[in-house]
Symmetry: C2
Subunit: 325 residues, 2 copies
């Protein structure tokens, strides 16, 4: 896998993102020393900020004049807050100790602070959302938040279940990853006062981009190195989290289902299961699935007027696909 | 302490509350078997439902005709959802195993489910809030949610700190308890289209009622029996959670501060500290503090037109104070 640069997609919003980080620090950190420390830890932790960048690009692609309004900038901040809150809670649930190469908030400040900081961010995002003045946007982002919970709950009930359908897998991917990209992209267009056809197209763009993103993440869990992933390859399978490569492999190798059902409890089970996935067309078909959603994302951009921001949104698709190589 | 009956305050909204429970079950439980089980466990768990009752009474006291609208009923459901979400998270944070005499969701279904169900309820409540069609109400309830996190964070930084000021103690009580009662009472009046003076009065009524409620809770932690409290008396003090009786006692017995600062780590420290609180005027002054806030709550009701619901709101204050005896 070659190292992929951040690419052109981010150049247009680099200044916007720096401004956002400063604004988030003063919004979140102002009230409380623990939150200040957690915020510093979180919002300076690098990460590619794909989600707020997407909001800012969708804003630039739809607003008259191409310059995001103050409300668009707030929406990007709220998006990063909601995403951060969900990561805080995910890391508590999964007892993760490292994210993006640094200690998690739960590892550094304890579960209590991580959980409360997440709740605080959800609440603050509601307050700021209301101030944007659009009930449609409030509802869109409320759906995103409830989808996080639904996705994690769905995941917990389908662990180690070889009867998992492809539809359930895609639902889970939507809830956990794509819903936020879809809902916030649409919200940017709503704030721009865009016609319905543009709002719908940006929702579909975000949804397909998000699913492609998640599918590629699931693929990398098989093909990436420990150094790239920050965890050993095959972690998802070991946890009983069945993803696209496994679901495809199950079609060719029904015995894989037996190993999954017994939760790999006999020696060599996990290794055998990994070999079955690699021996199948699962990896190849998963790559095709990601490419198909990437194409669908690009097609939806046709509904937008030509602009540098629309080009950047297309580049973002390429960047996401670039992780495949 | 005599057993206090639910009193007249609840008669007016009994049917409303039964209807609410059915509605919550179908709203929350419809999508997911785990949520269904958790919802059944939560929303049928008894409890006096003071918070949604307060919303329904504030609705009846302000709406023309005295009959809550569908939007008022939704607001009561949202209030119960937000309160329940905060309890779910509190029980995870405090590793509580029993609430209202039954197993907590974290004890029965695990921390993961409890946390996610809380997040899901926060998200769902945002969606439902948006559909009420009032940005003012969205903002009011967003503030309530962010206050929960702030209150808990504030509490965690002032543990075992005898320098805690009375103002900080009241702030914490507002964030953790009174903000919800204040914000949702006001929201009911906003949905009724009440004049500002009525909206403000209901906010102040809810705020003073909530502070009285929390102060009495803090007092009962000293004067209640294990059977009443579901935990040994003095638990707050032992946890370093300094409340009104202790803050008053500290004025008379500065040595109490030494015991607190060393976190009761010498044998007999906690017993000595309890005696100091009981020997001081702390218990009596705390009772007076609760009564003072109760009086303030009642005074604010004068801004409302006379109605059976206004009478019930006054009875609710008496009911809360009744816990003192």
């Amino acid at each position: 896998m070659s190292v992929v640069s951040a690419g052109n997609w981010s150049a247009l919003v680099e200044d916007d993102l720096s401004q956002m980080t400063r604004s988030l620090m003063s919004l979140v950190g102002a009230k409380h020393p623990v939150l200040h420390a957690a915020a510093e830890h979180l919002f300076n932790a690098g990460g590619k900020r794909i989600r707020p960048a997407l909001v800012l690009l969708a804003s630039r692609a739809t607003v008259a004049g191409g310059e995001p309004s103050e409300r668009h900038r707030r929406l990007a901040e709220i998006t990063e807050m909601i995403h951060t809150a969900s990561l805080l809670h995910d890391d508590v649930i999964d007892t993760s100790e490292v994210r993006r190469g640094i200690e998690t908030v739960n590892a550094r400040f304890g579960n209590r602070v991580a959980m409360l900081a997440g709740d605080y961010l959800f609440g603050l995002s509601s307050v700021l959302l209301a101030r944007l003045g659009s009930l449609e946007v409030v509802e869109l982002l409320g759906e995103v938040i409830s989808h996080f919970g639904e996705g994690e709950l769905l995941q917990s009930t389908i662990q180690f279940d070889p009867e998992l359908t492809f539809e359930q897998y895609l639902d889970k991917s939507f809830y956990k990853t794509a819903s936020l990209m879809a809902g916030t992209s649409r919200a940017a267009a709503v704030l721009s006062g865009s016609p319905a056809v543009v709002c719908d197209a940006l929702y579909e763009y975000g949804r397909h981009l998000g699913i492609a993103f998640q599918v590629i993440d699931d693929l990398l869990d098989f093909t990436g190195s420990t150094a790239q992933l920050g965890k050993p390859a095959g972690s998802d399978l070991q946890d009983g989290n069945l993803t696209a490569p496994v679901l495809y492999a199950l079609e060719e190798a029904p015995h894989l289902g037996v190993l999954i059902e017994r939760q790999f409890d006999e020696p060599g089970d996990l290794e055998k299961a990994m070999s079955m996935v690699f021996a199948s067309r699962g990896i190849e078909r998963t790559r095709e699935l990601a490419q198909q959603h990437a194409r669908e994302a690009l097609t939806n951009l046709d509904a937008l007027p030509a602009s540098p921001a629309r080009e950047a949104l297309a580049d973002l698709v390429d960047y996401i696909l670039g992780r495949l190589h």
